[in-house]
Amino acid sequence: MCLAEGGDLATHSGGTHMPQRPTPRLAQASIFGLRSLALAAGLLLTLPALAQPKATEPAKTDKPATAPSAAAATIAPSGKSLIIPDALKAKGTVYHALPGGGRQASFLSDAPFEKITGHSNAILGFAIAGPDADPANLQGGEWLLPINSLRTGNSDRDSHLLKPEWLDAAKFPHLRFRLTGVQNITPLTGVKDPALRTSTATLVGEMTIKGVTKSITIPNATIRLRAKSTATAALADGDLLFISCKFQLTLSDFGIKHTQITGAKKVSNTIEIDTQLLLATVAPEDQKPRETPAKPTDKPADKPAANPASKPSGVPIVKPPTAKP
């Protein structure tokens, strides 16, 4: 063993070391491999740009879009509620939607490539309850969902929803549902809590998305009413009305057609909507400020199953009737 120049400890069997150059074939293989890797990396790292939705031709629907049957309600100056026409107010007790609190609506897109859920708590609106003997017989209602309030857990996806090829928030900032009637009202008896009046019903109304209005019928909606109490005061002031329903909408019916629906299968053409709407007789502007409820430490039912079924069972598919010319 001897010391090479520079003090490095080296072992050699004797003689001088000459640096060995790689064989030409091995060098070419290494260079080829590196170039292939670099090319693959370049292609894959451009995926963010490729993932941007590509605009398609404006949808040409065979059937003309129907105009809403009544003028849309206007948003109050506070931005928290809608201005209710006097004719509707006279029909019954007014319940106001409460934006800014709990989740009010959710959507689910279950496509082969990806499952997307989104939620909003910014719905403005109202419902007019029926007479005391039959409060679930809602006399009317209207709700606006601001598209920029939808949250999917991915900020890039949230901003994509606003683009013209999807919901076009710049032209149509809200989704609108106008309730025109309630059918098949069935009060539930034997409910444990006598202060809770629960009925199931079929909601009939008009849905407007991206300027296209379709009549829809939502079966198996649940309408719950509870008079104000210490229990309800934790949520909101006044008597409370809770409307929950699930139904499905077809995006193509509203002129939303995209390669990510038909081609890449990242978005389903059929979207499940889950409405969990809390309303109160006291308007949002008059509600007392409340602290956000403490998040429970254990969430036994909130976490989704590891492998949820791809299609929920028992959810009706709402097919809009043929559009009227």
């Binding site: 060995q20 150059r21 790689p22 091995l26 290494s30 491999g33 590196l34 890797l37 693959a40 990396a41 894959l44 790292l45 995926l47 963010p48 993932a51 709990g102 989740r103 959710s106 689910l108 490539f113 990806e114 859920t117 939620h119 708590n121 949250r151 857990g153 991915n154 900020s155 890039d156 996806r157 539930l188 008896t189 034997g190 409910v191 809770l196 629960t198 199931t200 198996n220 719950r224 509870r226 229990a231 934790a234 949520l235 929950s244 329903c245 499940e272 889950d274 969990q276 809390l278 956000t292 409820p293 403490a294 998040k295 909130d302 976490k303 989704p304 590891a306 069972s313 028992g314 959810v315």
Partner: protein
């Protein structure tokens, strides 16, 4: 003793790839990365309060009438962190398995190519 080159060229990139894939599988194997959203967290905090007032006391009664079914069970709000396979944009969503694995795979390839080259030379 592992040389510095082997450590940086092979072990470290391989560890990064395994860690990225493992993180994806551990957080639900989603396509795109999703991060907890404060708005969703706020919505989640109301769920139990609404449950207490409206959703809980609706069992099937003695007369056999059924409680509302699908409409009573709300869509769960999933606000957990999920590490995705693909980058979704140029925000934090760009962090994904591929954004970590691609550079690591390149480094691994270079490290392996150089190792093969040294092995071939030392055999001569």
């Amino acid at each position: 003793m592992i040389s510095r080159r082997t450590l940086l060229g092979i072990h470290l990139p391989a560890t990064i790839i395994v860690a990225a894939v493992g993180l994806n599988l551990a957080t639900g194997a989603r396509v795109f990365t999703s991060l907890p959203d404060p708005d969703l967290a706020s919505m989640q905090s109301y769920e139990s309060a609404i449950d207490a007032v409206f959703r809980d006391p609706t069992p099937a009664d003695a007369k056999g009438e059924q409680s509302p079914t699908a409409a009573s069970t709300p869509t769960p709000i999933d606000n957990d962190f999920h590490f995705g396979w693909l980058p979704s944009g140029f925000s934090l969503g760009a962090l994904s398995v591929l954004t970590f694995a691609i550079p690591a795979a390149i480094a691994l390839g270079v490290g392996l190519a150089r190792r093969n080259s040294r092995t071939t030379n030392s055999n001569k």
